[in-house]
Amino acid sequence: MPVESSRAELSVLVVDEDPVRASIIEAGLRDAGHSKVTIVNDTTGIARQIADIAPDVIVIDLENPNRDMLENVFQVSRAVRRPIALFVDRSDQASIEAAIDAGVSAYVVDGLRKERVKPILDMAVTRFHAYARLQQELETARSELEGRKTIERAKGILMQSKGISEEEAYARLRRSAMNQNRKLLDIAQSLITAAGLLDE
């Protein structure tokens, strides 16, 4: 096993099919002072890249269906010093759990000191969580927008069929929601569905 020079810079490979998340991880690594960072979005041909880059640490998202392929590359590319162990310390159950809960996993070459690699994994875990939160917020915003559009359409249908003002249409929808103990959005959706049926 090669003796690790404590000052040699770690080479980090980030494998993530989501380019946005990959760049967030990359930024985090650069902020932490790592300059030897490679990002791979497409895992086709990764075997050769691993041989060229000779990474000390590989960070990969768990949703990537090519994890089995990647692990096999480590096993067959005996010529290069290759990452073999999953995570820094196989006995550090808490770190392993945190990573898997966050949806990320890391492979580390044998013999690397834990304190050099753990910050990389911790950073990846934090950023994966942050990214998931961001995605969720975007999803919420998107569905709120959809909801508003639905209510607008329901109001339009009422205004047209009853010849009433926008305020009056909205008041009717709200009254129905309160009387039936249902959400405004559900009432609007039912009205659109009903109107669609009547139009047929």
Partner: protein
């Protein structure tokens, strides 16, 4: 109060027993709330089992062996107390490789000997023309696919390490990789062979059942510590899966089984494609369909019994291809990864027909054969290897020593 068990699975035909246990109420009958989680890689299944997300999982039969031998990136003690059926795989090649094999004299069919002979000729011709090596794919190094593909190739005079390349691709991406020309062929479980044929990008040339009839493929992998802590729950799960396997084997149920598996929460494919797989009636290309005997056996012939001779055969092949070094200690680890004792304990009380032995000589039964069982009746076989060889687990050292790999094609 039901006990919740979470099981990871990969979208494949042989997830059928787990899926049926949930969907047809067999798990609920045993007071188990069986939660199934579809996964994207076998590595995820292993890791999520390691951190306790899954208590049990659909696993490649050699996976518990490899894991207990410590040759995987994350060490985890896993046992296999139940097998998820026999067979279910096929070998598919690209249309152009099929064409080349046909020109080398191969006729449509599934005979492994003639397919291997044609493939060997194609490889020799390509070598003479200085063309690139053919690339085959399997889903995982520690898989029945990898080991049976290699067994077949080597038995046909093709060195799987030097005459071709073998790479890893997930089952769902196989047909795409074939159509883009990234690979020339693959060995995978159904329905991912039928998908390539249906899309007009591949031709099936042989099957697992033709390479080694009635051979093991997936198991129920169980965290070893959970199996000890929750032995009663595990016994209930084994009973539920046993009942589910019996349901899957009933021809009356095949159409329903195909439609359950085709659902978007499981394989998310057309029921028609799934029907080919569950019936073992495969379209192999060129408008030819073949009804394959014993293509996938979910229940008959002790198909769910975790034979330790199966574990040892996988181990012998892992040694053969350099995945692990042979020793008495490793042999015992491989044998003990499979737990027929737990199977027996769980099913004895319901009067199931259970083999009396933990191991059998593999490949020794040319036809169906009644065997000694605890209750009822049971027949085993036919179970032959395509090359007529026999694996006697009591003589594993000789078997390993006798495995001759072919010399490189020149």
């Amino acid at each position: 109060m039901k006990t919740r068990i979470t099981a990871g699975f990969i979208p494949l035909l042989d997830s059928a027993i787990l899926v049926t246990a949930r969907e047809k109420g067999f798990a609920a009958d045993e007071d188990i709330d069986l939660n199934l989680v579809r996964e994207t890689s076998w590595a995820n299944i292993r890791d999520r089992m390691a951190v306790g997300h899954f208590e049990v999982a659909h696993m490649l039969a050699p996976m518990p062996i490899a894991s207990n031998l410590g040759i995987t990136p994350l060490e985890l003690q896993i046992i296999a107390p139940f097998a998820l059926g026999l067979g279910g795989n096929a070998v598919t090649v690209s249309n152009s490789l099929w064409q080349a094999m046909a020109e080398a004299g191969l006729e449509r069919g599934l005979d492994p000997v003639s397919a291997g002979k044609a493939l060997r000729k194609v490889i020799a011709d390509r070598l003479a023309l200085r063309q690139n090596r053919l690339v085959f794919a399997v889903v995982h190094p520690h898989s029945g696919h990898n080991l049976e593909l290699r067994y077949w190739l080597a038995g046909c005079g093709i060195d799987p390490d030097r005459d071709i390349d073998i790479i890893i691709i997930p089952p769902t991406l196989m047909a795409d990789a074939l159509s883009t020309g990234r690979i020339d062929g693959y060995c995978v479980g159904e329905p991912w062979n039928s998908v390539a044929v249906a899309n007009g990008v591949g031709d099936i040339v042989t099957t697992k059942a033709s390479i080694w009839r009635s051979s093991p493929e997936k198991v129920l992998g169980v965290r070893a510590d959970w199996a000890v802590d929750e032995s009663e729950v595990l016994a209930k799960l084994i009973r539920a899966l046993h009942a589910a396997a019996q349901w899957c084997a009933d021809r009356e149920n095949l159409e329903e089984l195909a439609s359950i598996l085709a659902d978007k929460s499981y394989l998310d494919l057309s029921p028609d494609i799934m029907m080919r797989a569950v019936e073992g009636n495969l379209s192999i290309g060129g408008d030819m369909s073949i009804q394959i005997e014993d293509f996938f056996v979910p229940f008959a012939r002790a198909a769910t019994f975790p034979w330790q001779s199966h574990a040892l055969w996988f181990y012998s092949q892992m040694v053969r291809w350099g995945l692990v070094t042979h020793s008495q200690k490793n042999t015992e680890i491989a044998r003990n990864a499979y737990r027929p004792d737990l199977y027996r304990n769980a099913l004895m009380s319901i009067g199931a027909a259970i083999p009396g032995a933990n191991s059998k000589v593999e490949g020794a039964l040319p036809r169906e054969n009644p065997v000694g069982v605890s209750a009822g009746r049971l027949t085993l076989g036919p179970d032959g290897f395509f090359d007529g060889k026999i694996f006697d687990p009591d003589r594993i050292n000789e078997y390993i020593a006798s495995q001759q790999n072919p010399s490189k094609i020149r």
